[in-house]
């Protein structure tokens, strides 16, 4: 495993896009962790004397509020900084939830085959037949709006990707000799599935996890924008955009900045995902 990660990083270092992605992800991670220290103001502090102030470098701006304020006089920079906490944890939660569930279902489907496989695949077909946001909307409509429900909804939508990837990989792996050897030694099915086979399915899983991060962040932000995700006063970038819509003519900075943050973070995970795929692909071919 250690060697695997070492080789992987060596391959990644050659890919400029992936390195840019990693650097941006690290920076946003640092921003998110140190948010209470670096944010100049309390992100939810309403300030009735400084409503919709432009950024400090444009006319009319105040030097107290570097990126200006929103419609309630809250400091935009601080809200954006705290927003990175929300977005990164949302991405992480979505990936963890969908990865664990999807991997579990995928391993079982690929290993046992038959009726179990058919039922699981039908279920994923069903989820995939609905557009992701639409399905998430249905779930949120049932559970009610809120950031946790949005995360649950987006995770459910992301499960089929993992199921399919893992299932295909397990179906190849289960016919290999090391699996027969493990069987001869009397290993339980559980052991064969999760301790023998699963570690050999890591490569596509890592790629999908990285892409799942960006999908998760994007979809939860979209739900926030539609008013179905994070609720006020939480500093979530999608929700901030939705609040800013009515002020697009008078206070454009309220619109441009949160969206730019979403774009940059999503882009960095996509860059990393692409790089990982390129790095892991030749290895995959060699293995087979």
């Amino acid at each position: 495993m250690k060697q695997f990660l070492k080789d992987l990083f060596f391959e990644l270092k050659k890919n400029r896009g992936a390195m840019i992605g990693i650097v941006i992800i690290l920076i946003s991670l640092i921003i998110a962790i140190t948010a209470p220290v670096i944010a100049p103001h309390n992100p939810t502090l309403v300030n009735s004397e400084s409503l919709r102030l432009p950024p400090s470098f444009s006319p009319g701006g105040s030097k107290d509020f570097f990126l200006g304020t929103d419609d309630l006089g809250r400091d935009l920079l601080s809200r954006l900084i705290y927003g990175s906490q929300v977005s990164l944890s949302v991405g992480f939660a979505v990936v963890v939830l969908s990865l664990i569930t999807g991997t579990f279902l995928g391993v079982i489907a690929g290993f046992y085959g038959g009726f179990l496989d058919k039922s699981i695949m039908r279920l994923t077909d069903l989820i995939m037949s609905l557009p992701s946001i639409l399905f998430a909307i249905v779930i949120v409509a049932v559970l009610g709006p809120g950031i946790v429900n949005a995360i649950v909804a987006v995770s459910i939508v992301a499960i089929p990707n993992f199921v399919r990837i893992i299932r295909a990989q397990v179906m190849v792996e289960k016919n290999r000799q090391y699996v027969s050897a493990a069987k001869l030694f009397g290993a339980s099915n559980f052991r064969i599935m999760f301790i023998e086979i699963l570690p050999n399915c890591m490569a596509p899983l890592i790629v999908q996890a990285s892409l799942g991060f960006s999908d998760g962040i994007l979809n939860v932000a979209a739900l926030g924008f539609l008013g179905l995700g994070a609720q006020a006063p939480m500093s979530e970038w999608g929700t901030m955009l939705s609040d800013a819509r009515s002020y697009i003519e008078s206070s454009p900075w309220m619109v441009t900045l949160p969206g730019l943050c979403i774009l940059v973070v999503v882009l960095s995970f996509n860059l990393l995902g692409d790089g990982l795929r390129d790095a892991l692909d030749p290895r995959l071919k060699k293995q087979n």
Partner: protein, 338 residues
């Protein structure tokens, strides 16, 4: 034939599943659905029972499902609580708007994306290739609800070239014929009275939302075309064609592109679903009176029958399109027939 009938048989459990999801959706809402629908306050007992009966909630769950399936087969997918119109008639009224938006977005993305992908593949590793692929990765990562707002900010607020919302200026009253304004405004009856002005107005209203909606498909198509072309260009028959001394143009456009198109067509069809997702967001931003805006509004208004019926129709459409694509793909690709 065997393949097609198998595909059609596979359809049954999926459609049944969607129906089940829609059926249980309204019943899984925490608390009493009837109270949810008419509001906690002012729920007088008679109205309560009436509502319960009209939703069929006074019967057992299996009976309810039988009734639900029966009513779907008879064409009744519910009635809006807000407007009291049937969900189907509300859908039909708004579908052309979404169809027009989606078609223009997707066609635009195809017309631009395929040549871009081909060009990037031919000039592999050139500056243009890197530039195009970087731009398309940005496009692919774009939160379109933000992109739409940025387009409004640039073209409507700053430059004042395009309108901010709606499908056409209010002064024009276009009789609906197809429901697609770009076509309806060109009918002789309209052109003879108003000239081409209504058409321009419809086009101006359409251009921004279609751009916003078409961005992600454009990025996907360009990337897909590039990788598909690169793969094909490495095939033996291309080397043979080169060895035979064929012109470069002929090799690229006749030999390579035709084979590269198969995965591209599949991608196009799969984009259909993402167009609907995009429409939900785009229509909300541009106040485009289509099914996306309709669904979002019904969620805010808690108009559950509309959400239930709307989701049912949309997912049926998507599933049926995907099956059609599978069949076309099968007919196009001789390799699949064995």
């Amino acid at each position: 034939m065997k393949y097609i009938s198998k595909k059609l048989l596979d359809l049954i459990p999926t459609l049944l599943g969607i129906t089940l999801v829609c059926f249980f959706m309204i019943r899984l809402i925490p608390g009493d659905p009837v109270l949810n629908l008419i509001g906690e306050r002012g729920a007088d007992p008679i109205k309560y029972l009436e509502m319960k009966k009209s939703l069929g909630l006074d019967k057992s769950i299996t009976q309810q499902f039988v009734v639900y399936i029966k009513s779907i087969f008879s064409g009744d997918i519910g009635t809006s609580i807000i407007s009291n119109n049937s969900v189907w008639s509300e859908f039909i009224e708004r579908f052309p708007a979404t169809l027009e938006l989606g078609m223009v977005g997707l066609i635009g993305a195809t017309i631009l994306g395929i040549p871009m992908g081909i060009f990037a593949a031919i000039k592999r590793n050139s500056f243009f290739d890197y530039f195009l692929m970087s731009v398309s990765l940005v496009g692919y990562s774009m939160p379109i609800f933000w992109w739409g707002l940025i387009l409004i900010l640039l073209f409507s607020v700053k430059m004042g070239i395009t309108p901010v919302s709606g499908r056409i200026d209010f002064i024009y009253d276009i009789p609906t014929y197809t429901g697609l304004y770009l076509i309806d405004t060109l009918r002789p009856a309209v052109v003879s009275v108003e000239g081409l002005k209504p058409f321009w107005s419809a086009l101006q209203h359409l251009i921004l939302p279609a751009t916003a909606l078409g961005t992600i498909p454009l990025a996907v198509i360009a990337r897909m075309t590039r990788s598909s072309m690169l793969e094909v260009l490495n095939e033996d028959y291309i080397r043979t064609a080169k060895a035979k001394g064929m012109s470069r143009k002929r090799i690229i456009y006749i030999h390579a592109l035709r084979n590269a198109l198969i995965p591209i067509i599949t991608t196009l069809a799969l984009l259909f679903g993402s167009i609907i997702t995009g429409a939900i967001l785009t229509e909300t931003i541009f106040s485009w009176p289509g099914i996306g805006k309709w669904l979002v509004q019904s969620i805010t208004a808690r108009d559950y029958p509309v959400i239930q019926g709307g989701v049912l129709i949309i997912s049926f459409i998507i599933v049926l399109t995907n099956i059609m694509v599978d069949i076309i793909y099968f007919l196009l690709n001789p390799k699949m027939r064995n």
